[in-house]
């Protein structure tokens, strides 16, 4: 069993866990976490592919390594956007509940 294979299998396991979480979580935060675990798994697989493609004295193929960094930045932005939306939704729901409560108390 080579190093790259172990990392690849670990990535596949992470991707599986993430997909399961993304599809079955009932709360949006759980889905966002699932997306992150899935993304982590995909990046790990890409890393294993980089390792397998090592040549010319490098420890790994540099192209996937560069792409993984970019991918992590994009996934991080996506997570930030999703969490920001979730926070706005919570505030909006609280405001709505407040308004509903006031209407009830002032007939």
């Amino acid at each position: 069993m080579t190093e790259a294979l172990i990392y690849g299998l670990a990535g596949a396991a992470l991707a599986g866990c993430g997909t399961y979480g993304l599809l079955t979580a009932t709360h949006a935060l759980g889905r966002i976490l699932g997306f992150n675990i899935l993304g982590g798994g995909v990046f790990l697989i890409f890393g294993a592919i980089a390792r397998r493609g090592a040549g010319a004295g490098f420890g790994g193929d540099p192209v996937p390594q560069g792409l993984i960094i970019t991918g992590i930045v994009v996934a991080f932005c996506a997570t930030a956007l999703a969490v920001a939306l979730l926070l706005r939704l919570r505030t909006a729901l609280a405001v709505e509940a407040q308004a509903g409560h006031e209407e009830e108390t002032q007939p």
Binding site: F35, L85, A92
Partner: protein
């Protein structure tokens, strides 16, 4: 090398930076100006493709793939760029404040998001590299999600979150597919991968990668059965945002789905996968079409109609995968023409629905009687846009459907012909429901108010644009086949 292609991507992105510094009124004007400039650049790229008859290629930094990144505008890409640029520009005018009026119709962020969409769309249409395409798709999502929840209402935020999660799941699947392809061939350039496939038949891993990429793109394009996020997101957004979401945003993943199976996949795989895509398309047309008939709000009806109309592109795949060059080109032209005419007619219909909601104060079908008296231009735009959806002549939708039908009948694929016809009937049902109700005399006093005429005229112009597409000849367009078959000659400097 043509630098216009890279300008089509950078001009909109650079153009949105100064908008952060300007006030709301100046920002709106500057945003419209930049949109017009960006549309000019996109159309100029199209003109270059027409005049030279060659795809326009640009290598970033002057380095060719596999080391560099290529941008390449072929006929298909240039056509989609032109359509999207025109719709975005018209939407900008539709959303601007009343000339001389003080009140802003849309927050300043709207115009920045329009520019971001323009840049991301152009990148998605021209990029030749699977990872650059991933970035383009993510940029598109990041610009489209805020458009869904511009007003910050609870329903909008919920729809935006669902949309974002669907889109993110789609992009991770897409990325996994791209990663597997890199592992197989050591390059992400579509042309180089396709060239590497010619001497060796693909391994099964390649088929898995293509399936992952397709599933990801289907989630982003809301192709049946992954359409669930679309209706609440498109119907809940402010009208001007619904226009761009429905008319242009979903076109980029659909375009890439076509690119995946036409340019990346070898013919044998494309033939094998085509029936699956066609069944998804047929499901969209029939299932979402019936759901559209059952809606009680105009905007939801139009949103379900979008989910249904996407399906025609799915039907195109088995028709285009035939060995007969003429019938394949005919299906190809029909599918592209459908994308273009759907963009125009859906933009016109969402604009009209927005004006109706403003005039009447609601968009319920039950309260639509007498609407044609207070909003005649809006109803005209809705009806003429709907003409193209139904596939009645003269309209782009008619020509597109005739091409798909001809190709299906000549290849004797009967069930596709039946689905195309049934889809037209369903579209007729939901469009006429709105128009007939609006033309009826109202009981009692009827609705009051007056539509905003110049904005209704913008909607009408887009609807007439969909009609004008109906005057193209009923034959494969040579423009669309420019640069269709990727060869290494075009990619090497």
């Amino acid at each position: 090398m043509n630098a216009l292609t890279i300008l089509a991507v950078t001009v909109p992105f650079l153009g949105l930076v100064p908008l952060f510094l300007l006030g709301p009124r100046a920002g709106e004007r500057a945003g419209l100006l930049m949109l017009a400039v960006a549309a000019g650049v996109s159309l100029a790229v199209g003109l270059c493709v027409v005049r030279t008859g060659q795809p326009q290629v640009y290598f970033s930094g002057g380095i060719a793939p596999p080391l560099g990144i290529a941008l390449r505008a072929d006929g298909f890409a240039a056509a989609m760029m032109g359509v999207c640029a025109v719709v975005l520009l018209f939407t900008g005018f539709y959303a601007m404040r009343q000339p001389g009026g003080a009140e802003a119709r849309m927050p300043p962020a709207f115009f920045m998001l329009l520019l971001a969409l323009a840049g991301a769309l152009n990148l998605a249409f021209m990029a030749q590299d699977l990872f650059t395409l991933y970035v383009a798709l993510e940029l598109l999502t990041f610009a489209a999600v805020p458009l869904v929840c511009l007003d910050g209402k609870v329903e909008q935020l919920k729809a935006a979150l669902t949309y974002l999660l669907f889109a993110l799941f789609g992009s991770v699947l897409y990325l996994l597919g791209a990663v597997l392809i890199y592992g197989l061939y050591g390059t992400l350039d579509i042309g180089l991968v396709a060239a590497a496939l010619v001497p060796h038949p693909p391994e099964w891993t390649f088929a898995v990668a293509l399936a992952l990429i397709s599933a990801g793109l289907m989630a982003k394009a809301a192709l049946f059965p992954l359409y669930l996020w679309l209706p609440p997101a498109h119907a809940g957004a402010p009208p001007a945002a619904s226009v761009v979401l429905s008319a242009v945003v979903i076109k980029a993943p659909l375009f890439l789905l076509v690119r995946t199976w036409a340019d990346l996949a070898p013919d044998a795989l494309a033939v094998a996968a085509a029936p699956v895509l066609a069944v998804c398309g047929a499901g969209a047309i029939l299932f979402c079409g019936v759901l559209a008939l059952a809606q009680v709000r105009v905007k939801l009806l139009i949103a379900y109609s979008t989910a249904a109309q996407i399906g025609y592109l799915g039907l195109m795949f088995p028709l285009a995968a035939t060995g007969d060059a003429y019938l394949s080109a005919l299906a190809w032209t029909g599918g592209t023409l459908h994308l273009a005419s759907h963009a125009f007619s859906k933009a016109a219909m969402f604009m009209a629905a927005g004006l109706l909601a403003e005039t009447l104060g609601h968009d319920r079908l039950s309260g639509l009687r007498g609407a044609a008296r207070v909003a005649p231009l809006s109803i005209a735009a809705f009806g003429i846009g709907g003409l193209s959806l139904m596939g009645l002549p003269p309209s782009g939708g008619f020509v597109a459907k005739v091409m798909l039908l001809t190709s299906a009948l000549r290849q004797e694929i009967w069930w596709i012909a039946l689905v195309v016809l049934a889809g037209g009937l369903l579209a007729g049902g939901y469009v006429l429901r709105v128009v007939v109700l609006a033309l009826q005399r109202a009981e009692g006093e009827g609705p009051q108010g007056r539509e905003c005429r110049w904005r209704a005229a913008i909607a009408l112009m887009l609807a007439l644009g969909a009609v004008a597409l109906g005057f193209v000849p009923l034959a494969p367009l040579s423009f669309l086949s420019i640069g269709r078959h990727l060869s290494l000659e075009g990619l090497l400097p």
